[in-house]
Symmetry: D2
Subunit: 340 residues, 4 copies
């Protein structure tokens, strides 16, 4: 294997994208390129201490800055981008979380609208011990502290949408975007259907860690140094984002209500398994029903995101080898070559 | 520790309960009693081969037979039953699954009503290799077979409901019932709030294994030999069913739409952690948001069930020890004593 | 036409039913009987002034008392009860409404659970001018008063449920119950499928008027003197409650989320029109889609209720005459005979 | 009153807009301008007979062409556009409707995803008798015909969205768009909050008539000759589209699930009534709860739309006069002046 091409890119303040679609590419890359990227946190770096309230220091709609978009040579509607995360490393020694008025799962919101007062707006600064791989929670109303393992991930990975649309970087949908799944971690390949020429890939919204569902609406948010490999599957359609790790294949769905997000992800996985393993749709329905894991991603964003997850070593028949033409295995090799 | 009292009970055909509430107790037990129970499968044992279609061999509403109810001495509204599963063992060498017309997540149903035709009704018989701990899927439309690990569980565990109600054994709600979570396995303690004198505990709906969400509506259904210990927490209110394993505490919520089930489970866990760990509600909201796992249970029953799950060794402060007065640890000891 | 049989019944405090199913009949009636009934308000008459807070004066679960149940001779599962409202007259010179903590559409609830504080609990007493047909709103926080037309109706009309269940009188479902639709007014016939021998009809929850959706969770609640005729359609199945007025046929659906309630009501109306008018299902789908009205009933109860409503004089072909064997017209005649 | 300025505009095939936002203005108008517009039907005029299947003759995403956008001089974020419909007249002697595969309320869709087959794709051509004001349904599978009154309306009215977004013309949201409410008829004023300079108003999607909910997903679709007056309310924020007729004020909400659309519309109406009539929020909550009508608009589009509707002559105190600074009355006068 030849040395992969490598592009390093750290956006200036003016170079961030705030939308999927509608932003000019920051660079053109060929399939197989390794990207070394800096991503700013979802607050555009403006929440730096517990007195930095989101409603005061942030400037709507300039939230969730994206690094990109990257134009992938040869990518056309009907193809699929493969985005393999080689490493995701917090770029600062701290991260921030917050309640945001009328946002989150355990509060009324602008969409689940009530007459009640919003919850108080509170910021938590988490200390990151990057060598130990820990992030430290410090309670605001008591002396309690608690360490949780880091589990770095990207909340937002996406391409330009279909249907001539431009969507806020806060939205998850069929184009990917703000799905907020902890499964989007190093070692994972994300497959995104291409809707416009070049695909126009962007990433952002790094989380030192996040619970499933992102209940309060905000994770342990931090800037990231992230390395990824971008490749192209010609002639492969991917209606909803898929993920693949060494151990699992995963489908996602993003919509409201949450049961519809569940349906989309599960149907996509049933169809994926059916195609890979030579099972009839009903046989795949039965098999997936007994084998699937269904961790939630977010239940707070404009659309809710559900994940359907299946162990690859449980796939019957030729299933394992047939997944996305072996792309994940290939990108693993590219990553090893890069890291060597 | 003294030897626990033990009651063995295998219902006759006439002794099953088909509801939570509204059925006379089959026995009265004192707190601490070990129950050795037989439970029939959700089909009342009538689906025994691939030609036994549910719509033909089953007799509505006589589905999901429950073993019980058991009247627990001293249990009063405002108390909590603790139900510890010592062992759950498939009672036959096979299990059955099926599509059921207008039931399941990837079909129109009587509640998500459409003009489309139902999916075909198909039965799958799974072979259980109990010594190897495997259940074997055999495709109906191809030669594919696949082994999955057994993970025996009870889909249905509940008490009599509040508000003078009697509910079908197919329903999950605040009284427990047909929650269909794979977390209900051996080694786990389930906490159920008592609504009527004696609590009136029943269990049923054994699954050799089940995916999260129970997508097609039916798990790998089998009769079970199950041992459990039943104990009583006086003066402890439990609004929605909680579970505790050696490693996790879990809250559940069962309602539609699915985001509301998520909200109930997450709010209950936030309040549980707040009370156990001396965190303010907002601090607990932040902590749980970053630490929680959110596996789905079912997205097919009358109500959908969501689980919120937290590692006990992540609980800060005195949290770990304070959970339900140490009941799970105590019941683990009772189980060891019984098994010895 | 012979004089109809008439039964007058005003329950004693002990005679109210608090559930659908599970209550012994207060009387047996033959089809065609006129019932002259007293119904108490949903607060069991305990909210009589603005200082009578529901949470203090009411005793859960003894809310929404029902007058009945009535055992209808000859009614068997597979039949339909026809309940025609001859007159619905407020029995007092005032009515009460209230916010109830964690209940209503514009607040978090026990099911749409949040960490926010409940809204304040406030009672409004409405003055009823029965001769003028007005109910007077008196603001609590200002000097504003406003008169609205009375539009008396019953929030709760139902029979014993299927599936061996007993349901709280606060629940709307396929058996009817607490549907809270303003369409349930004098001059209307309600059709309810029979699930158990005798049907076991109860009514309650009189409203001097109610907005569509019952947004705050509580209408202008009052005791009622109500006259109705009860008849029986042998061999007619009615899966979800239907209504018929002189001008409209209506289907209802009660479930969560609200779009599923909409789907149930619309599908039932499509099937009803298809059967009545000799249209294929797809033709009826098209016709109903362009002709239907879709007023909401309640978006606050355990299940949400949606109504699908079609003008009878728009029904093509023989449609008009074929509705429920002409039962509404017949009961109109009985009512005239009674009133004469 | 001076003669109003009048602009007539009929787009060429290349001039239609397919999105809200992202399209260059076709003209700049000053507040108070009368627009005489032609709008093409939602099929871009390609469904002209019963053999013109949408999936074959239409070219995605070129559906629902919009006439506009119009840049309104002086309109800035924080202002409100007032759009008064003077007349809406079908431009052809026929209109078309259709089932569309995996679209509609009584079918699985791409978002409510199932394994079932789609419903058949069927086109209905409706004959319009414009002098009699009738549209004629002709069944496809039988000889049945039926006349329904015309009730011409625009399904789609909107401005450029906030948050840097560009949305498909098929989407309803806070910017208006494809709300599909039959309330958008001649004589009505629609208020839309301005998100970008000039507002960028477009309209389209004429319906000769439509049922509430637009159940099959498609109304009686036709090209329209429409006259409207556009005016500007400086310094008035309108978070969600509002409507005003001679008799009613109306709020709308567009989101999924449907109960959230209901909440948005109801909360907006409560706040509107509170502000207009000097009622406290809780008093307005009570008043609206008893007085509101809640007709559904659509339960099929990307977002579902709910309407909350209140009679103006029921508004207490100074309410009636205070609505939107009397703009509707003023535009009625402009319309009279134009028509004279």
């Amino acid at each position: 294997m030849n040395d992969p091409r490598v592009l390093s890119f750290r956006p200036t303040a003016e170079q961030y994208a705030w939308t999927f679609g509608g932003a000019a590419p920051v660079a053109t890359i060929s399939p197989g390129t390794v990207l070394e990227l800096w991503t700013e946190d979802c607050f555009a770096g403006r929440v730096r201490g517990k007195d930095d309230l989101v409603s005061q220091v942030c400037e709507f709609p300039f939230l969730n800055p994206q690094t990109g978009p990257f134009y992938v040579e040869g990518a056309q509607p009907g193809d699929t981008l493969a985005v393999h995360f080689v490493s995701i490393e917090p770029a600062r020694e701290w991260a921030a979380s917050s309640t945001v008025p009328l946002f989150g799962a355990l509060t009324a919101t602008h969409l689940t609208a009530t007459l009640q007062d919003p919850l108080p707006e509170v910021v938590w600064i988490w200390d990151l011990d990057r060598s130990a791989g820990l992030c430290r929670f410090t309670a605001r109303d008591s002396a309690v502290v608690a360490d949780l393992p880091m589990n770095p991930m990207h909340g937002t990975v996406g391409v330009a949408p279909a249907n001539l649309e431009v969507r806020s970087a806060l939205v998850p949908d069929a184009f990917g975007g703000n799905m907020d799944t902890p499964e989007m971690r190093a070692g994972v390949t994300c497959y995104l259907g291409v809707n416009v020429a070049g695909g126009l890939l962007s990433i952002g919204d790094g989380h030192a860690r996040q619970g499933e569902g992102e209940t309060c609406g905000v994770a342990v948010e931090c800037a990231m140094n992230t390395v990824l490999v971008v490749d192209l599957l010609k002639g492969v359609r991917t209606p909803w984002p898929r993920l693949e790790s060494d151990t699992h294949i995963m489908s996602t769905g993003s919509v409201r209500p949450l049961e519809d997000a569940f349906r989309i992800a599960q149907l996509d996985l049933v169809q994926w398994v059916s195609a890979c393993c030579g099972l009839s749709p009903l046989d795949a329905y039965q098999f997936v029903s007994q084998a699937v894991e269904a961790p939630l991603a977010n239940v707070v964003d404009t659309n809710y995101t559900s994940v359907a997850k299946l162990r690859k070593d449980w796939l019957p028949g030729a299933g394992r080898g047939a997944v996305m033409r072996g792309m994940h295995h290939h990108l693993r090799e590219v990553a090893r070559s890069y890291l060597a």
